[in-house]
Symmetry: C2
Subunit: 131 residues, 2 copies
DNA sequence: GTGCAAATGCAAATGAGTTGCAATTAAAAT
DNA sequence: ATTTTAATTGCAACTCATTTGCATTTGCAC
């Protein structure tokens, strides 16, 4: 295993992810890269993001439109997202209420013998600037 | 507008939906139909389900695998789902905690000016029989 | 410089879901 | 009973996000 090679694309992707409050999709990312004159191959971009996720530097969420959105893990606590149906922006929400309010998910299960490994919670609606 | 025509496929689909506790996908539905000797065209099936949803007889949820699952609305209150990652079954959960525990989602939003129109909440894990 | 693993690019494939259009069917009107 | 009309169906082709195979390039290590 050698040191991971640095690439312009990787650097720029990290830069974009660092400078947005939102989770962004591959196509949104490609658009942003295009505005700074970079047109990476989409396969490359998918692989780069996959790597960031596998190294836990980033995480991805997939909304009910079937599209995955990425964000840097950074120092943010576990949280969920708001998808604006007008502008397709994925806003990060405050700390997950399931954790902060210690909600017992077991009660909701068909049987206490089910093992919950993950949960997702997405809000859908219209953001402030789209109203 | 004439009376809606009855078809074997519609009847069998309703029958299957009525006799399962779970939400099922189009491919799961096609498999079940196949076991009783019915091989409907997938377009037909999609359109039939779309109609059931539009008439509020059924509802659909879409999980992070990008697949939609359908269930009859019937008398069930608003609830969410548990997806078993081993057997691909989508179990219905108890009444939505956001409603029963009157959780205020506004607090989680970036701004109170955001309008929440819908939310989804899915659990992922392993079901009782797959453990 | 040579070798080797990582990174890249392209084209093609995947898979859920959709669309256009022609063909069929059943209900309504005659 | 026959015609008219609208709903239903089936097929092929398409969309779109994502993935895969494979050949090529690149850059670190020796």
């Amino acid at each position: 295993m050698t040191i991971q090679r640095k690439t312009i694309v990787l650097e720029k992707v990290l830069e974009i992810l660092q400078h947005t409050q939102n989770a962004i999709s591959v196509s949104q990312l490609m658009d942003k890269l295009e505005t700074i004159g970079i047109r990476p191959n989409k396969t490359t971009l998918y692989r780069l993001l996959e790597k960031l996720v596998s190294t836990t530097d980033a995480l991805s969420i997939t909304l009910k439109n079937g599209i995955s959105y990425y964000e840097l893990r950074q120092k943010r606590p576990h949280h969920h997202h708001f998808y604006c149906t007008k502008c397709d922006t994925v806003f990060c929400l405050g700390s997950c209420h399931v954790h902060t309010q210690k909600i017992d998910l077991t009660q909701l299960l068909p049987s206490p013998k089910f093992t919950v490994e993950a949960h997702d919670f997405n809000l859908y609606g219209v953001c402030e600037s789209c109203r």
